[in-house]
């Protein structure tokens, strides 16, 4: 995995792990993904020199078991 394709999504300031409360913070990310899935975003592709509608879908998450429990609620 190349570093330029790795995104840092949010910074949550907290002294300890959020546990199940992580779902509260994922709200903006989920909203954006839903929007990218339903309506997409107009994007310029420099290799083909024209615009297209980019759509995104979350296919899987990779995590250890504590994080898996948090994401699943």
């Amino acid at each position: 995995m190349r570093p330029e394709f790795m995104f840092f999504s949010m910074v949550i300031s907290s002294l300890s792990s959020l546990g199940w409360n992580i779902d509260v913070y994922l709200h903006p990310l989920i909203d954006e993904l839903t929007q990218l899935w339903s309506s997409g975003a107009l994007t310029y592709d420099i290799s083909r020199k024209h615009n297209f509608v980019m759509r995104t879908a979350l296919i899987w998450t990779i995590n250890d078991f504590p994080a898996y429990g948090m994401v699943s609620g």
Partner: protein, 217 residues
């Protein structure tokens, strides 16, 4: 993007105007340098560089140069008890009904600015994904699945066979607003469509994304 090719001064071999600013920004954030400290260092650096150098004169000018790259972030106020975000329709609320904790800190002195107890920094993914398509270097990796030729005996993504062209991917899309789980389907069936793999890092969670684009508009 022109700034990434433009040299810091005529005859300079390294670095470019953009990479110089990016490196100074990294030093600033790593060491918690103030804007005034940044300004003084840049002032001194400009004085020792050759005449006609293109180093931005202060932090504001450098920030304006970096703005079109879509690296910005949103600040969203959050409840101190981790129960909600003051986001979208809740943004104007002064306290949350569940825990009753106040949104803002009590005012001190004569200042009129309201200061929230806690903030979330959110980095939107849409401009970051769009940026990957704007650079000739990264767009090559974003569209490799369309041009890649399969090699016999090597297990790779089948980009050029029939199965690859009519690839059906079943994914689970979580529709949180309805609280239900729906099985969605993505159909890949034209030469202009394709899909890409991206990685998004959220704390300890690695979220893989599959992106596809279809046709032109």
């Amino acid at each position: 993007m022109r700034d990434s090719y433009e040299l810091l001064w005529d005859g300079c071999t390294n670095p470019s105007k953009l990479s110089a600013i990016a490196q100074v920004f990294t030093i600033k954030s790593d060491h918690g340098l103030s804007e005034a400290g940044y300004g003084k260092i840049i002032e001194w650096t400009r004085s020792i560089l050759p005449e006609g150098n293109r180093l931005k004169e202060n932090f504001y000018a450098a920030k304006c140069m970096m703005k079109p790259f879509g690296l910005g972030y949103q600040k969203i106020n959050i409840c101190l008890n981790f129960c909600m975000l003051y986001y979208l329709k809740n943004a104007e609320m002064t306290e949350w009904m569940t825990c009753g904790h106040s949104h803002y800190k009590p005012r001190t002195g004569r200042g009129k600015t309201l200061v929230a107890y806690k903030k979330l920094r959110y980095f939107p993914i849409t401009p970051r994904l769009q940026r990957l398509f704007m650079s000739p270097r990264t767009v090559e990796h974003m569209t490799w699945h369309q041009s890649y030729d399969a090699v016999d005996g090597v297990m790779v993504y089948h980009s050029d066979d029939e199965a690859g062209n009519t690839l059906t991917i079943c994914i689970l899309t979580f529709q949180l607003n309805q609280g239900t789980c729906v099985l969605g389907c993505v159909q890949k069936n034209s030469t202009h469509s394709g899909h890409l793999l991206l990685l998004i890092l959220v704390g300890r969670l690695y979220l893989w994304f599959i992106t596809y684009h279809r046709g032109c508009v």
